[in-house]
């Protein structure tokens, strides 16, 4: 979101699901949507059915890649090298949209100069993808009438996440594949309301509606007036910065709502130690998570999917109503009720606050949501922001303004960004020769808190997935338990042969922390701007165990 907000001023995917079904070409980059975003992938499948060409960029040949017309197996962390090579190929073949570039962008010359060193040959050398294939993709993307780039954590879970995102946006600016129907740049969201969290200001630098807390004085004043409190005009901490602050002792209390950092953060041994060191840890969740187990106070919350009213915002910026169907079990309470009670104890009585009241307040403070009454949300089946007034139909795709003739209507032009290839922090050496990347499977969700309680015929527990070649070379067998070590820790996991991997590349999920604590291995190198950690690139070694360990994986 930081990358998108930097270039376009708004942190959201630009396109609608409907457009996914009617685009001509999709570059699915660093995303195994088939497994990780199965609902979104249904829209991709419809697009494929309608004739869309799908090109998948991923170190692994994933289930998603199997659906692709073309798969590019790049080396982990070489995304910028690939995008810069694509850019150069597009420019030198005169396939870039010079009219759009002149009309709606800034900094093209500098950008063009910066990618000129990225010949196809150098691209091949760095990414491992044959030069001819890079060329083919460059031409296909540039020549497509409608083209979309979609990505997920394969792009953002790197130490240079924002650069990765910006490098993809550069391609859309270069070809004019943004701001028109069926073209755009879209990060896929892992939950039904990740976008909604950002919308509502649950990010360190924005108030609700992506209004900058530091720079948008007018907006800040509006919130201050409505809430009758002064708001400090300073960015807060990202998640990673919070842990750094804990480490320094600057942050001594945490209120964790619906998150499980004790399982999900990189270098988790360290994370748990920091959480244990807090003066006060409050956890509000629907499950007794590992983080909750560390807490001083646990607020049992209700399930937002069917035990409360409210709204969510999905990946296409569509705000939708959620309706309560069941009473929460036992003493579990609505999140809003818990927060209101907390406010009351802290001296602010909000009365019997309902989700609808909260929403109506939001509409007065966030211009992009102003036109979304509950009635209209019902009537239209959700509305895509921005929707500034009650006559506005919502916005199918973002940044059409870039194409506008009137400068006032066009607003700020979109800047190209010069991005420099920067390989993963955790380098491969003789001692740690294998590249471990992590991801998700269809049957499980994140740390397994929400999915572990349900059986799935697909679930096979944690494994260290390896290429057939590596398994053979190391004399291993399917199911054999091996030691996996990184510079930070070691775990044991059974081997699983995956033809989608090449020699030197291994894969694990983080779904089964109680069985195999994958994040003991991962590195806590984070992007300073987005705060995401480099889960996708860890250097590991795999050692055969002397005696086959039948049971009792650590």
């Amino acid at each position: 979101m930081v990358g998108l907000a930097t270039v376009f001023g708004a942190g959201g995917g630009t396109s609608s699901y409907e457009e996914v079904e009617h685009t001509d070409l999709m570059l699915l980059w660093g995303s195994n949507a088939r497994a990780a975003h199965p609902i979104f992938f249904h829209h991709i499948l419809k697009g494929i059915h309608n004739g869309m060409k799908l090109i998948v960029v991923d170190p692994r040949r994933t289930e998603s890649a199997e659906w692709g017309d073309l798969w590019l197996g790049i080396d982990v962390g070489t995304d910028i090298a690939l995008s810069n090579s694509l850019a150069r190929e597009i420019i030198v073949n005169d396939l870039h949209d010079t009219a759009f570039i002149a009309h709606a962008t800034l900094g093209f010359e500098e950008y063009a100069a910066s990618v000129m060193g990225w010949t196809l040959e150098r691209g091949e050398e760095v990414t491992g993808v044959p030069a001819g294939v890079i060329r083919e993709v460059a031409h296909a993307y540039a020549k497509a009438d409608r083209a979309m780039i979609c990505w997920t954590l394969g792009i953002t879970e790197h130490h240079n996440a924002v650069d990765n995102v910006v490098s993809l946006i550069n391609l859309s600016l270069l070809t004019g594949h943004v701001g028109t129907y069926g073209s755009g740049v879209n990060p896929l969201r892992g939950q039904n309301n990740v976008q909604g969290g950002g919308d509502m200001g649950a990010i360190p630098n924005k108030l609700a509606g992506f209004q900058d807390i530091e720079q948008d004085h007018e907006a800040r004043a509006r919130f201050e007036a409505a809430w009758d409190v002064p708001i400090i005009p300073a960015y807060g901490y990202t998640l990673t910065q919070m842990f750094e602050a804990m480490e320094r002792g600057d942050l001594t209390a945490a209120y964790v709502i619906g998150e499980n950092p004790a399982s999900s953060e990189a270098d988790k041994t360290h994370t748990v130690k920091l959480l244990e060191g807090l003066d006060c840890l409050i956890v509000q969740d629907i499950f007794m998570t590992r983080t909750a187990e560390l807490a001083d106070v646990v607020f049992p919350a209700s399930n937002s999917a069917f035990e409360t009213d409210g709204t969510v915002t999905n990946s296409e910026r569509r705000v939708q109503r959620m309706r309560k169907a069941l009473d929460p079990p036992g003493d579990a309470k609505d999140d809003i009720w818990i927060i209101a009670q907390l406010a009351k104890r802290l001296g602010r009585d909000w009365g019997d606050l309902t989700p609808h009241q909260a929403w109506e307040e939001l509409r007065t403070l966030s211009p992009m949501h102003a036109g979304m009454s509950y009635e209209r949300l019902d009537e239209l089946g959700g509305i895509q922001w921005p929707c500034p007034d009650e006559t506005h139909p919502g916005t199918k795709f973002l940044h059409a303004r870039l194409w506008a003739d009137e400068p006032a209507e066009q607003g700020p032009k979109a800047p190209f960004s010069v991005v420099v290839d920067d390989p993963p922090v955790d380098t491969l050496t003789e001692e740690f020769p294998l590249r471990l990347t992590t991801g998700r499977r269809l049957d499980s969700y994140n740390t397994g808190v929400q999915t572990g309680g349900y059986t799935s015929p697909l679930r096979r527990g944690e494994t260290i997935d390896m290429s057939p070649e590596d398994v053979q070379r190391m004399g291993l067998a399917e199911g054999e338990v091996v030691a996996v070590s990184s510079r930070r820790g070691a775990v044991r996991a059974p081997v699983h042969v995956d033809r989608g991997l090449r020699p030197g590349l291994v894969f694990m999920t983080f779904h089964f922390p109680d069985q195999v604590d994958t994040n003991v291995l991962t590195i806590e190198a984070t992007d300073p701007r987005s705060g995401t950690a480099e889960f996708k690139a860890t250097a590991v070694r795999i050692d055969k165990l002397p005696v086959p360990a039948a049971e009792g994986i650590e």
Partner: protein, 637 residues
């Protein structure tokens, strides 16, 4: 594509069999050795998925080379064609000719259907049991086994056998006996297919002059393009080209040609509808999946005049704007398959198929595809699914094939006999053709005479001929016995008693009289024939062949067979009348609610036997009770 391959690996032999069909694999993702390129690039997606239609040919290749489809072999096919193994398994197990379990290399299918039963199939099976071993069990040397089979489409030469032999040609053989079984499976077997020589009207030089559809049968060399040409071959296509596509369709429309497959839809209307579809490409399919018990007319034509089928299909493609034709032939017709393959290759070689047919500036080619033992694939939409490499399950209509047929594109489909009429129409002219036959049923018609008839075979008559005349033309009853019943139109048709021999065989008379011409089956049962057994066989046939997709048919065909067995054994559930009422109920539900013709007609023959012949009547069953009929469980073993 979610290819969850199992660890099983194909043998070298299996890979070779598949590669022979598909060519060598192009990358590590499709079955070749994994290399550096494999690790970096994969091409798949649409191009790979578009190969799905080759699934049935690939399964045929495995089955033919190794005698069964192993898990490793199936994996390899799936990898080659980008088909999820679970789906491929679903396809492999749908078709009777495929086995996913290892079995002896020689499997001989022994027809025990109606016509063969009248020719002593039961005694043959008893002898095979005694001398070779029980049905399905390996022979003493393990090299072979035998199985009973529904109608193999050679009723005029009953009883018959059809042998699948791993690594060797498939053979269909007439006059089946234990000796022919042994000859078929012998390691040095030289047995070849029994050819059709039985279009008895062609034996008499006088009589054959009246023939229009069968005029070349028995005269022309089926293996020679030149001989076909010398006997008037390709004059009809030339005429079509002269007329142009639109006027060709007009001739067919003027001729009032109606489909001979059973539905009697006006052919010209169908062609026009396809030709006018704005969506391209168009396809034209020749339905040669002749599987209706008692039917063999298309087989005889394909074996003895294969070029005529190729020419007629080419005309259909030309008229409807299709550039690709498919000829879907039933899997148990090895001789017709070989002759048609040869005819297609010859026609292509001579420029009568290909990019520029006859130098006339249009392209058309034909691909022959074999079925694999599924009656349901004669249903047009099931046939499309089968061609696309799927289970042969009928689709809901609409959309109709002319709008969305094969591969979702506008498709024309006619059976062999219908297409054959087009040659005649173009040679005499549509109007002249329309004057033959009757007002409502123009032109000639092929009939399949079988059972206890003096001279079984294919006969050509003008529409309007009576059933009595048809029987008399075939020499009447064998051995001068009295006629008990005629099965008219096939298993999906109905029984007609000796009192109704003067019915005229036309579409309009059939409609008015509540019978059907179906696929032209005229099977005679004499005074000693066991009609109860025939009805049970028909019920078993439909229960076996129901694809199971829709409930009325899946459940109804089973319930029907069960009730018939209970009545036959004199052990009705409730009263005898209750059972008959139940059968009527089942028939009604299947007729009204099944999605395709199989279910809709599965009760026809049985109901007609009950209504017009009194089979399963109270008097009848009393005598049957102690008749030593098999119990249902034995029957199904």
């Amino acid at each position: 594509m979610d290819l969850h391959l199992t660890p099983a690996v194909a043998s070298v032999e299996e890979r070779a069999a598949v590669d022979e069909l598909l060519g060598a694999p192009d990358s590590g993702w499709h079955g070749a050795e994994r290399d550096e390129q494999t690790h970096r690039v994969a091409r798949g997606g649409r191009a790979a998925r578009d190969e799905r239609h080759l699934l049935l040919p690939a399964l045929h290749a495995l089955q033919a080379h190794t005698g069964w489809i192993s898990e490793g072999g199936l994996n390899y096919v799936c990898e080659r064609l980008t088909v999820p193994p679970a789906e491929a398994y679903g396809v492999a197990t749908f078709y009777a000719m495929f086995s996913v379990e290892e079995r002896p290399p020689n499997v001989v299918h022994v027809c025990d259907d109606l016509a063969c039963e009248l020719a002593g199939a039961q005694q043959l099976c008893d002898r095979l049991t005694a001398e070779i071993g029980p049905e399905g069990a390996p022979s003493p040397d393990g090299s072979s086994t035998w199985k009973t089979s529904p109608c193999l489409g050679m009723c005029e030469q009953a009883p018959v056998m059809f042998a699948q032999r791993a690594g060797r040609d498939e053979v269909a053989l007439a006059g089946a006996s234990v000796a022919t079984f042994e000859a078929l499976v012998a390691p040095a077997s030289t047995v070849t297919c029994s050819g059709a020589d039985t279009a008895p009207q062609t034996w008499d030089p006088e009589e054959r002059t009246s023939l229009r559809l069968l005029k070349r049968v028995g005269v022309v060399d089926p293996g020679s393009f030149d001989d076909y040409h010398a006997h008037g071959g390709y004059t009809a296509l030339r005429r079509a080209v002269e007329l142009g596509a639109e006027d060709t369709i007009r001739e067919v429309t003027d001729a009032k040609l109606m489909g001979r497959g059973g539905a009697a839809f006006p052919t010209g209307v169908k062609w026009k509808a396809v030709a006018e579809q704005p969506v391209h490409p168009h396809y034209f399919v020749c339905n040669a999946d002749e599987s209706e018990p008692g039917t063999f007319k298309d087989r005889v034509v394909m074996e003895l005049d294969p070029f005529a089928v190729v020419e007629a299909l080419t005309i259909a493609g030309f008229a409807t704007g299709a550039e690709q034709g498919y000829l879907y032939i039933r899997g148990e017709y090895p001789l017709a398959t070989r002759r048609l393959e040869h005819a297609i290759a010859e026609a292509r070689h001579r420029g009568y198929l290909g990019d520029d047919v006859m130098g006339a500036g249009f392209g058309f080619d034909i691909e022959l595809r074999r079925g694999a033992g599924a009656y349901i694939c004669g249903e047009e939409t099931a046939l499309f699914n089968s061609l696309e490499g799927k289970r042969g399950e009928p689709r809901n209509k609409p959309p109709f094939p002319v709008q969305r047929g094969l591969f979702g594109k506008p498709t024309g489909i006619n059976n062999v006999e219908t297409l054959l009429n087009v040659l005649e129409i173009l040679s005499v002219g549509g109007a002249a053709y329309a004057e033959t036959g009757t007002e409502g049923s123009a032109g000639p018609r092929l009939f399949c005479l079988s059972g206890q008839v003096e001279r079984p075979g294919v006969y050509e008559h003008e529409h309007g001929v009576t059933l009595r005349q048809v029987i008399e033309a075939a020499g009447g009853m064998r051995e001068g016995k009295a006629l008990k019943a005629v099965l008219l139109g096939g298993a999906a048709g109905g029984f007609v008693g000796p009192d109704r021999l003067d019915v005229r065989l036309t579409f309009e008379d059939a409609r008015a009289g509540g019978y059907t011409l179906g696929s032209g089956v005229v099977m005679l049962f004499d005074e000693d024939a066991d009609l109860t057994g025939a009805c049970l066989r028909i019920a078993r046939f439909f229960r076996d062949e129901s694809c199971g997709q829709c409930v009325p048919c899946r459940v109804g065909t089973v319930r029907q067979e069960e009730a018939l067995h209970r009545i036959a054994q004199g052990r009705p559930l409730g009263s005898h009348a209750d059972e008959l009422a139940l059968l009527e109920d089942i028939a009604q539900v299947m007729r009204d609610a099944s999605i395709c013709g199989l279910g809709q007609t599965a009760a026809n023959a049985v109901q007609s036997a009950i209504a017009s012949l009194g089979v399963f009547g109270r008097d009848d069953t009393d005598t049957l009770a102690g008749d030593g009929l098999p119990t249902p469980t034995e029957e199904q073993e």
